[in-house]
């Protein structure tokens, strides 16, 4: 069994087949000229041993190589890359099966923000009439902790539309160091959700520890290959066109282990990529193809996602503008490129530029959520709770986003128009027009209960006031109070025995648990 996600039956296409071909050709040219600069010795050696033109760059301080990847290597890699990728889960029913040519969308959280936004509802009194009081939400940013990561995993476990969990925040507790961060973020997340878990790795040395942890949970090495409950995000190519050392080395190691990985590139149009759509598209596609090629050279057949996080720069700050309309355009173009290669796409929507939940946040995220979903990416990440251009995560916002995706999923249901349906309703029409009241109300009843009618907006208040935040907050707390299925006690004990660096407070079976 796997999760259903939502199948987009007629995916929206922004660019023509001809434009797809043009981008593809331009990317192939870029991979040869100017090629890429590579700061990873291992990667340079791998490319060299497979016939790519590799030349050491002497002028630079850190050792680096100039790599030209010939078309043949790229095309072979595209052939070898799996067209179906499975992401497993602690609960096997939560597995995600992604086919590169099937526009079935899974909605996923994201993406390691430093800031966690707390919500509070202080009461305000009206100046001209002190009998009038209202509660106004206030948002307080602070550094995120491992407890926050646990909390968001719990809520995400219960958000109906959320199909997979990417760690939401960067854990910055005092006792978290570069050395123990990976094991703690993997354990905190895996222990609080039975959905798929995806994350980046902070330190390559921790890879074996987190893989071992996953093996213990999945039930062994083979079981983990069968049901890869974890996967990795690797931004190995930094725009423009540079293989960075640490992530590329991590990527190589992950590919060697055959675990699923998103080959993610995040160029910013205007600063690290051309401001024009044609330019950023040719470049991001080249960057992702370079990563996919390296992955397939390391381990033929290793499961990879075409990871695209293109954004346009904000003109005022030159920071990322996820809320810009172009960002959605680029993302949709990438969905089409990935579908052209039949490789599942890791795409982006739902991040807003504004810093707090509110009208701008809703408008920006709902816009990108709708248009990008309609194009049919397989793995739509960053879709829950992200604000301030991906710098802030707010759990309340994640709960609000779930309502957006409920609507979208409903909207994308396949239309039920067929002969039988028509025959049944024609009978109704005849019956109703013959009655004095001429009302179809009685036929609502069964349909209403069959789930065929979309639910009302869940956070609608009564009366004249807007209670959206208050009601979503209530819902958030309800979800937080719901139990989650933790990793079993004996497995937990084994994990704490075998894996170094875990914070004792994360052990829910010990006192003083978190």
């Amino acid at each position: 069994m796997s999760r259903e996600g939502i199948l987009v039956s007629n995916p929206y296409e922004r660019i023509t087949d001809e434009q797809v071909q043009q981008i593809h050709q331009a990317s192939l040219q870029i991979l040869v000229d100017p090629g890429l600069i590579c700061f990873s010795k291992k990667a340079a050696e791998i490319f060299h041993s497979h016939g790519a033109e590799v030349a050491a760059i002497s002028s630079s301080d850190s050792p680096s190589w100039h790599i030209k990847i010939p078309e043949k290597l790229v095309m072979q890699a595209l052939d070898n890359a799996p067209k179906t990728v499975k992401l497993g889960a602690r609960n096997p029913d939560n597995a995600l099966i992604m086919k590169g040519d099937e526009p079935r969308v899974y909605f996923i959280s994201g993406s390691e923000t430093n800031i966690w936004l707390d919500v509070d509802f202080p009461t305000y009194v009206k100046k001209s009439d002190s009998s009038v009081e209202i509660q106004v939400p206030e948002f307080h940013p602070r550094r995120a902790t491992v407890a926050d990561l646990c909390q968001s995993a719990r809520v995400c476990e219960h958000l109906e539309t959320l199909d997979g969990y990417i760690r939401t925040v960067n854990i910055q507790d005092e006792d978290i160091t570069e050395d123990n961060k990976d094991v703690n973020k993997f354990f905190a997340s895996l222990n609080n959700t039975t959905k798929h878990f995806m994350s980046g790795l902070t330190k390559l040395e921790q890879l074996d520890n987190v893989v071992r942890m996953a093996e213990l949970i999945a039930g062994g090495k083979e079981a983990l290959q069968e049901n890869p409950i974890i996967s990795f995000i690797t931004c190995l190519v930094k725009s423009p066109l540079q293989f960075v050392e640490d992530t590329t080395d991590t990527f190589i190691e992950v590919c060697q282990r055959g675990l699923p990985t998103a080959v993610s590139s995040s160029p910013q149009a205007g600063t690290t990529a051309p401001i024009k759509e044609a330019g950023i598209m040719a470049q991001i596609n080249a960057e992702v193809l370079a990563g996919i090629t390296l992955g397939q050279l390391v381990n033929k057949g290793t499961p990879l996602l075409y990871g695209s996080v293109p954004v346009r720069a904000r003109m005022d700050t030159l920071g990322d503008s996820y809320g810009s309309v172009e960002t959605s355009q680029y993302n949709i173009d990438c969905v089409q490129m990935a579908r052209f290669y039949k490789i599942p796409n890791y795409s982006t929507s739902g991040v807003c530029d504004t810093k707090i939940p509110g009208q701008q946040a809703s408008i920006e995220r709902l816009f990108s959520d709708i248009v990008v979903t309609l194009s049919g990416p397989q793995y739509l990440h960053c879709a829950y709770g992200l604000l301030d251009c991906n710098a802030v995560f707010c759990l309340l916002q994640a709960v609000l986003d779930d309502a957006h995706f409920q609507m979208l999923k409903f909207f994308l249901k396949t239309p039920r128009i067929n002969q039988q349906e028509l025959a049944e309703t024609m009978k109704q029409i005849k019956e109703v027009v013959a009655t004095p009241q001429k009302l179809y109300i009685r036929y609502i009843r069964q349909v209403m209960r069959s789930g065929e009618i979309s639910a009302p907006y869940p956070f609608e208040g009564d009366g004249e006031s807007d209670s959206v935040f208050a009601l979503a907050y209530q819902r958030m707390n309800e979800l937080l109070a719901r139990p989650v299925e933790h990793i079993a006690p004996d497995t937990t004990a084994k994990i704490f025995q075998e894996i170094p660096g875990l914070l004792p407070r994360l052990n829910v079976y010990k006192e003083g648990k978190s």
């Binding site: 001429k438 036929y443 069964q446 209403m448």
Partner: protein
């Protein structure tokens, strides 16, 4: 046997099934007798009409009200049940006198002149029938004089007027005036409703009551019945 048929009537009120062709709420109901078939059978068997009304229809409707309060039932369900009860009452009407039951009262309903909106009025009709009233729906776009003629002929206890347009609500006043001019105003209580009208408006045009929705329509008429 009597018990069985009464409980079947009750269940079918809960299911909101008027005839055997109605799907009701649960699966597989189509083809089984609905409230009208069951009432006919009960009458043929000579079952006391009192028993049918209080243990079948009223009890059924009470249970439906309970389900509505428990949020298990929604307005469409209430309407379906009310429709079933209304249809049953229509069949039972000729037999009420024989059983010594005083009918609850007769109501005429109309949407006033110039106004074609009738969804609200139709819902009110169904709910009033479900509450046991005999309701005659005169239709919409009704001239004051036609309404007066109907009141004269039908001798109802209540007249319900509906209007959805600010431009037609004034025709409620005209209708009430026409009743006065015909000497019929004190023979009938006038209740009004529809989105643009209000309690104050009702008072200002000399109506006896106002109902903001279908349930209020029943409530206001019940309260005026007891005064």
């Amino acid at each position: 046997m009597t018990e069985d048929i009464i409980s079947l009537i009750r269940e079918n009120v809960i299911q909101g099934r008027v005839t055997q062709d109605d799907e009701g709420l649960d699966e597989g109901m189509v083809g089984r007798p609905g409230v009208t078939e069951l009432i006919e059978k009960a009458l043929a068997m000579g079952i006391d009409v009192r028993d049918i009304i209080s243990n079948g229809l009223t009890e059924g409707m009470n249970l439906v009200g309970q389900k509505f309060e428990d949020k298990e039932y929604y307005i469409p369900d209430m309407l379906a049940s009310a429709e079933a009860v209304g249809a049953a009452m229509e069949l039972l009407e000729p037999h009420l006198a024989r059983s010594g039951i005083k009918p609850k009262g007769k109501i005429l309903l109309a949407t006033v002149k110039g106004d074609l909106h009738d969804i609200g009025k139709n819902i009110v009709t169904i709910l009033l029938r479900g509450a046991g009233y005999t309701v005659k729906d005169l239709g919409n776009d009704m001239e004051p004089q036609s309404i007066v003629n109907a009141v004269r002929a039908e001798k109802p206890q209540f007249l319900g007027l509906s209007a959805l347009l600010t431009s037609t609500m004034v025709n409620m006043r005209d209708t009430i005036q026409a009743l006065e001019e015909s000497g019929l105003r004190d023979k009938v209580k006038v209740v009004i409703g529809g989105a643009p009208v209000s309690e104050e408006y009702a008072r200002s045009i000399g109506a006896d009551g106002y109902g903001s929705d279908g349930f209020q329509a029943v409530a206001v008429i019940e309260s005026l019945t007891s005064t």
